[in-house]
Symmetry: C2
């Protein structure tokens, strides 16, 4: 049992979420020259700079920039056929072979840090940078403990993991995946618990979004897609639209462009739609009928999952589709109790599975921090995410207001404005 | 954190209780030719042979017979001065240098084993043989668990240890030592927890009876003395007595011979008297006055520790000795709750400390087994131990009856007869 990596935090470019490559290939093919700026957003306001020294943060980030994909890693991606044979083209694999992560900008700002990345390949920074910040933060927490209290922490982690496993065993129909790379306590702990889940819940644990761990443990690399695609494509669409065009049409068109691009590239294999970028009501109102009919399902990532389930059932029913034949991936703020509640609420009405994140990979006793790295700008224009929780809306306030008008949201002052 | 030794269970002849050497020197000087037979007694009747394969038991015992004291180990013993300078003479150290443990007799008997040792050096088998049997037994328990359940077991061990430490911190006047080598879950776990206690409770954890761990962790090697001395000396006394002698006098004489021999060899440094070999009432009635006045204290090892404390206070008071100036070492069936209860009962009336065994070194979730290795015969004659708990009395029934008459116990059928 190894609790702590002695070496660098990130030692492989596959130590990231699978969707970075599925989205990455779409970006590579369709939007190769868009300059996207990604930035760290510290939602919980934890005083990161009090716990993470700037030089150690730089050392870990510099180390990530030294990494390249090796042949085995590229072979693994090439051989991935669970979602369609040869899903990654040779052109994209060649791009990955030459990929070096772009430079980062890091600046201490009081007790926190400004951290951002720009360029067509900035997207590849999201997961490793989050994992680095989280691991350094929790390392500082645990390093302040006595040797024995460190063991107690890991013992608590094991006991809590055992509690989850025991509870999930009571509901053998519940399936779930690990979506927790970005928020993990540490890479070693992540590696450990994925191995445990594979052994202890072989019929319920479907796989992990972490490609390196999927490869290492012989599991299915799992993933859907993220907000960055519709956010960036919508910002580009607004940038080239003229003032006479209807903003709802622009937004709906951007959303459909992303859905169509994804479908063209991956077909049914990866057809789980993320619905909440501009609010799920907008999605259900404007998404083309084939998304309800032909796609495998949708992913819920904000707002009430119970209301979401009801809306999804309504959406499928409207098109005469049996909701039980479709898959809803719940992935927001889950813990096992909520998974059980959702399972009991929908087991006879809506197909579903779960993507468990923070509560899986960072539940050893410390309070997790809430940080994200999001696409903030595309070719200089602010992106916007509304989500199903207005408190989570992000973007420049003028742009947020524009998107809200477009989707019919009433304005509110609780936006998370990032510039 | 190392949970499991990969190598042999016993890798040093110092991996034993300190009192084996303090008693060993007295035996070497005063009783060098007595043939003592030690045998395994399986009090809880656990079906050991169902869990421990004979060949692995033989392999571990054979391995112990390969061990010799090395120079560093002998230097450590020579340099031990906490109980008096040069407490071990060169003659005895030379004896240890040449010591090889005598052959063992092992026989499978149904679901258990008969295991015994004979010779003047059989005493040195007690602790390593018990540690071997315990570790093999618990290894078989843990090997039947899944990889994760093994981690859960160790996590439970850590949590329970943390619970003990937290509770003991609430009573900073409580001091205690590790007396748990013979009953330990494993050598690695023992090593780990002794290190933890040294770090976490530096002012309350006084040391360990395990000489190797004391040496490794820079702790005080702790120990008093065991029943084997009065048991063997009494058996020898009865053997050479004629029928006209009063048996109480013979027994009291044997007990005084042991006390005097100990005092002559170690003086006040190691003057903790074990009182219950023939029942503590007999001891308090017959022990010479200088034991109450000059010795540091006594050890309680059976019966009710609360009654024992009261009797001890009465004994000291009879001789005008302040019980608070003396030390009672409680060492029987302790857990932290009982330690706290005893501390609260006696803190203003009787000096005390604790020797914590099984509940310290074997509390990871499995039910401990109750095995002991005891001196059964001396020069062919049955030894007897009565103790303060008649259910613990051991020896041939005729001899037990003789000793009971000698000390004034009423006979009972609940003796633990071993032959």
């Amino acid at each position: 049992m190894k609790w702590k990596n002695e070496g660098p935090i990130i030692s492989s470019l596959l130590d990231t979420d699978f969707y970075k490559f599925t989205m990455g290939q779409l970006i590579f093919r369709s939007y190769p020259d868009v300059e996207v700026e990604f930035g760290l957003i510290n939602r919980s306001g934890a005083p990161l700079a009090k716990f993470i020294r700037e030089e150690e943060l730089r050392a870990e980030l510099d180390q990530v920039r030294e990494l390249r994909f090796n042949n085995s890693e590229l072979h693994y991606l090439r051989g991935t056929n669970e979602y369609g044979d040869r899903m990654f083209g040779e052109d994209y694999l060649q791009f990955l072979k030459n990929l070096q992560l772009p430079p980062y900008r890091l600046e201490r700002a009081g007790d926190s840090y400004h951290l951002s990345f720009t360029g067509p390949a900035a997207t590849y920074w999201e997961i490793p940078a989050l994992a680095v910040v989280n691991e350094l933060y929790f390392r500082s927490q645990i390093d302040s403990q006595s040797r024995f209290d460190q063991d107690v922490t890991y013992a608590a982690g094991i006991s809590r993991l055992q509690g989850k496993i025991g509870r999930l065993r009571e509901y053998p129909e519940i399936t779930f995946s690990d979506f927790g790379t970005r928020r993990r306590f540490s890479g070693a702990w992540h590696d450990y618990l994925v191995g445990v889940l594979a052994e202890e819940l072989p019929n319920q644990f479907r796989g992990t979004s972490n490609v390196r761990l999927a490869m290492e443990h012989g599991l299915l690399p799992m993933g859907t897609s993220a907000h960055e695609l519709p956010m960036v494509v919508a910002a580009l669409a607004f940038a080239k639209a003229d003032e006479t065009q209807d903003s709802e049409e622009i937004l709906a068109g951007a959303q459909q462009e992303v859905l169509q691009g994804w479908w063209d590239l991956y077909g049914p294999g990866l057809s789980i739609a993320l619905t909440d970028t501009f609010g799920s009501p907008f999605f259900f109102r404007t998404a083309p009928e084939y998304v309800a009919r032909d796609w495998k399902g949708t992913r819920q990532d904000s707002g009430s999952p119970f209301s979401y389930g009801e809306e999804t059932i309504g959406w499928y029913t409207k098109y005469g589709v049996d909701p039980l034949s479709k898959l809803t991936v719940f992935s927001d703020q889950l813990d096992v109790r909520r998974m059980v509640d959702l399972h009991l609420a929908f087991r006879e009405r809506l197909g579903h599975t779960f993507g468990l994140g923070t509560n899986l990979t960072n539940d050893v006793g410390f309070k997790p921090i809430s940080i994200v790295i999001k696409a903030l700008k595309a070719n200089g224009r602010s992106t916007v995410k509304l989500s199903d929780n207005l408190a989570k809306a992000m973007g420049e306030s003028k742009e947020v207001a524009r998107y809200k008008r477009a989707v019919g949201y009433i304005n509110t002052e609780s936006d998370e404005c990032v510039s």
